[in-house]
């Protein structure tokens, strides 16, 4: 049975496993095939692990078993218990674990090989890149986790003007350590210096980023972890690692650019300095004057929707914070029973990570077909009788299209103002986290329903039941 330990056979298993990764992800185009796709990718992972364990000369079985068992025991309950509102934290944490694992492996390898003394230069460089990026990802992700979990304040924490020079210095320090190791230094302090400098860099880059930019940050950290895994694959000459890491890198990069585009922000600008808090104070010249705002009641809202043909719900993160998803679903059901079409307009950055709002609504049993992406729904607002905006703000602000002075000018928005009438559920007139006045609220066809999102929706549901 020596052929099963043949390197060629192991490589064939790796080819099968990365084919399954790609095939599994290909099935992520719709929710039904996706379930199967996820398990196909998992099977690929199983094959890759088995193939690795078959490599000739494997030892330390007890330690391997210990790691696998402890990891499994920790992960199963957390996978089943995590709340859907907490998914961004979980994904951030998982990104960090992947990056952290790579940093630790590179460190151990450095110690094991006497400072990469015998290794080829290309592999040393790949390992050092993996360690640097992995360490950035680990510490950056932990900060992102802390912010999302509200252990750390969501507001940007930074050094102001010193931020960029300090970031640059830590980056240079990390690169200097890497160059020293690559050019033959074998003292462990260089490796520790590399890991510490990149750890500081990870902290420094994510700490100043505000809560609103989290979707971009999480995607970016996802990409970094993937890239460092791919680099580690080059260092270890392992095709499964190269392919899987690179696919994750590609996925994270795509999501990062999608999120940045949806917020009309450049990625360097987000990484270079905190958004989500400062810098947007002077948003247009609309603030001063007293402008008229229509307000409405839950009863009127219910009547207006009950006599509509098409209703579009525009949910924002406020809806998730208020935990009003289930009530919204109940409201939609009541409307559908009256023969009214209800769909949901979801902006790419609604929520705290890409696609977060969709998951929250799916959890409340909102059917997949009713969840509309921005481009699709924007062509339908013209035929919409009532748009119900719940906890969304900046993504509905027409100033993004009409006012070149607005800080969000150019950001793609949900064109809610094209519908026949708009009802906005909001606690008060205070502007959103970006601090920008929303033109939509002063539109004559807009009515405001003031109050807590959850109790407002509950009131609407009660009124609808009586109609």
């Amino acid at each position: 049975m020596s052929w099963i330990q043949d390197p060629a056979f192991i490589n064939i298993l790796y080819i099968i496993s990365f084919s399954l990764f790609i095939y599994g992800l290909m099935k992520l185009t719709g929710p039904k095939t996706a379930v199967q796709g996820n398990w196909i990718a998992a099977a690929g992972m199983g094959i890759a692990v088995v193939a690795t364990l078959l490599i000739r000369g494997m030892s330390n079985w007890w330690l391997i078993a210990l790691g696998v068992v402890v990891g499994t025991v920790i992960s199963i309950p957390s996978a089943y218990k995590v709340k859907m509102t907490a998914m961004p934290q979980m994904v951030a944490l998982f990104n960090g674990l992947g990056g952290g694992a790579i940093a630790l492996i590179s460190w151990a390898q450095f110690r094991d090989t006497g400072g990469f003394a015998e290794e080829e230069l290309s592999k040393v460089i790949a390992s050092l890149f993996a360690a640097l990026v992995g360490s950035i990802s680990f510490w950056g992700s932990n900060v992102a986790f802390g912010k999302l979990q509200e252990i750390l304040p969501g507001k940007p924490i930074g050094l102001g003007r010193l931020q960029q020079p300090v970031n640059l210095l830590t980056f240079v320090a990390a690169v200097v350590c890497a160059v020293a190791i690559a050019s033959g230094q074998t003292s462990e302090w260089w490796m520790i210096g590399l890991l510490v400098a990149s750890a500081i860099l990870g902290l420094m880059v994510v700490l100043p980023i505000g809560g609103a930019d989290m979707p971009v940050v999480i995607s970016l950290l996802n990409a970094l972890t993937g890239l460092s895994a791919a680099a580690k694959g080059i260092a270890l000459d392992n095709t499964a690692l190269i392919v899987a890491g690179m696919i994750v890198g590609a996925s994270g990069s795509i999501l990062t650019s999608l999120m940045a585009k949806a917020m009309n922000r450049s990625i360097p600008a987000i990484v270079a300095g905190g958004f989500g808090g400062g810098g947007t104070g002077g948003g247009g010249d609309t603030g001063g004057e007293d402008r008229h705002v229509n307000s409405t009641s839950a009863a009127d809202t219910a009547i207006q929707m009950a006599y509509a043909g098409n209703v579009v719900v525009v949910p924002g993160y406020g809806l998730a914070v208020a935990q009003a998803q289930h009530l919204v679903k109940e409201m939609s059901e009541l409307l559908e029973q009256k023969g009214i079409n209800v769909s949901y307009a979801i902006h790419p950055v609604a929520g705290r990570m890409p696609g977060h709002m969709n998951v929250l609504l799916a959890e409340a049993d909102v059917p997949y077909e009713a969840l509309k992406e921005m481009d699709e729904i924007n062509s339908q607002f013209g035929q919409t009788d009532v748009s119900l905006v719940i906890g969304a703000n900046d993504v509905t602000n027409p100033a993004a299209e009409t006012n070149p002075d607005s800080p969000i000018y150019g950001m793609p928005i949900l064109k809610v103002n094209q519908s026949q009438s708009v009802i906005v559920l909001k606690r008060s007139m205070s502007p959103g986290f970006a601090g920008i006045e929303n033109e939509l609220y002063y539109d004559p066809k807009t009515a405001m329903l003031f109050g807590d999102a959850k109790s407002s929706v509950a009131d609407i549901v009660e009124e609808l039941k009586q109609l």
Binding site: A42, G71, G98, E120, A250, E333, N358, Y368, L371
Partner: protein, 107 residues
Amino acid sequence: MDSELVQNLGILVLAGFAGFLVISKVPNTLHTPLMSATNAVHGVVVLAALIVLGQGVDLGVFNDILLVIAIIFGTINVVGGFLVTDRMLGMFKGKPGDKAKKQEETA
């Protein structure tokens, strides 16, 4: 430049293109499950930990600890990632209240 490195770089580039093509087809609606699935996929780093730990001769206690932690991290990624993704995807349901409507009709 040795040929092994060049081959691996070729694989890296092709995988990048394959990744871009496959992932750009995933709809926005499924981006959160996509991210948790890629979390599970980058748990593939557990292979690196297995190789370094399994192929090492006498690593010393400190290295053992580093690598066992790396295996734990990687395993959490893999197992947790795939399970969470499955749980999340299970929440996406098709066709609005097909069952509910049928129940009403029969009632």
